[in-house]
Symmetry: C2
Subunit: 254 residues, 2 copies
């Protein structure tokens, strides 16, 4: 079982879109995929038509607060063949305040027990560097950092990379990562310049084929469909397929 975390504390850079699309592409090749939506906002759950704030259901918030001690009862089937989901919703937001010891390793512990049930676990992170994202970094085998190709989004990348290095030291094993440029519009000077800046600053850890801006992405989310279901030939769908093929064959190095 491989665990991939999708994180960046900059908001709106395509974390949820990347998690959803990679999950659906993996499932389309027959892999068993578990998605974890650890963002209190619950975008991935909404995309998959699951209510992250369902009062009747136990959730990831109960796992972090110690009410339940395993993931299995929290997992929902989704409308997408081969993709399951566990989510936490707004109740996750208060976790940062608990400050319980060892809170950073909850996900790693419970995921180890599911190793025979799934081929891939994809974790969609909130736009923060708090205890939720730290959990995902501590547990994952690969960190994907979607980064919008524009000025404001580039600035925060250093903070994200520092946090990754800190978690790598604390957990005592390498934490591979790949920066994935998103929302790229080749016609605008601002995007082209931002992409060049990324290429110069992080040549070895940057996926060189930016995911293009594509209205089909938003349409797919509004319909609850995978990107490939809604628009298999779209530029964004084929860009995500190239990324998946690379990750499956060669691992993280671009």
């Amino acid at each position: 079982m491989k665990i991939w975390a999708v994180a960046n504390q900059k908001g709106g850079v395509g974390k949820t879109t990347t998690t959803a699309t990679l999950a659906s592409e993996l499932a389309a090749t027959g892999k068993r995929v578990l998605c974890l939506d650890i963002d209190p906002h619950g975008s991935l759950a909404h995309y998959l038509r699951i209510d992250p704030d369902d009062e009747q259901a136990a959730s990831l918030a109960d796992l972090f607060s110690g009410e339940v001690d395993s993931l299995a009862p929290l997992i929902h089937n989704t409308p997408w063949q081969g993709v399951s989901l566990a989510t936490g919703g707004a109740r996750l937001a208060t976790l940062d305040r608990h400050g319980r010891q060892g809170l950073g390793r909850v996900l790693g512990r419970v995921l180890a027990r599911l190793a025979d049930d799934y081929d891939f676990v994809l974790i969609d992170c909130p736009p923060t560097l708090g205890v939720l994202t730290i959990n995902a970094l501590a547990a994952c085998d690969l960190l994907l950092i979607p980064t919008q190709t524009e000025f404001l989004a580039l600035k925060g990348l250093e903070g994200m990379l520092r946090t990754r290095a800190m978690v790598e030291r604390a957990r005592g094993r390498p934490l591979d990562y790949l920066i994935v440029p998103t929302l790229f519009d080749g016609r605008t000077r601002a995007c082209r310049q931002a992409f060049e800046t990324l290429q110069q600053a992080h040549p070895d850890l940057l996926w060189p084929h930016p995911i293009p801006t594509d209205t089909k992405v938003r349409e797919a989310a509004a319909l609850g469909e995978t990107l490939s279901q809604h628009a298999a030939d779209s530029r964004a769908a084929s860009a995500y397929r190239d990324l998946i093929n690379h990750l499956l064959q060669n691992g993280p190095a671009p």
Copy 2:
């Protein structure tokens, strides 16, 4: 002195862009404007070419942790005439874990002492509903909620409105708000449908003239210029000017 908070826990919806543009438009009319960047990511500081993580300078993080007890020493001049800034940077991110009592009212207390120095205070919030955003809501006279006109962004609005109602009850005085649709592209069905959904769900509290998607916005941020300096005739600049004129003349009700 009027205090406006710009908040939404959904990421990438235009909070920083809205704060920066409204601040520069207010300053252009001769008002004295103080911006507070309480996002650990520091986008607004970067836009204004100020380093939010300057180790040598005291910052908002010191205010929240109790090291300093007033805002005045934390305020920077910016390249924009009439606009000042205080920021906090990555050190703000650990605040949620302190859980000190009364942490939610720090900003309100220190801002009251600056009432004669500024006409407007604009607070750019992080994409979370933690103690930083609660501080801004507790202290403000008006809450602006930028909301991207698309499916994933609409879903989280209810959470934001519940938090607003909670803070209004706790602080014992009305908390006016206005939902500002952003990143609107009238050519795409997904945007038009999302805007209609907003109009039906929140008719009385929605600004009816969405801020259009406009590449000039990203160019201005990359150059560190105000939107009006970079492209005064752009569709986004005139949309923001309409919003400011309305807020100055009529108050929040759309």
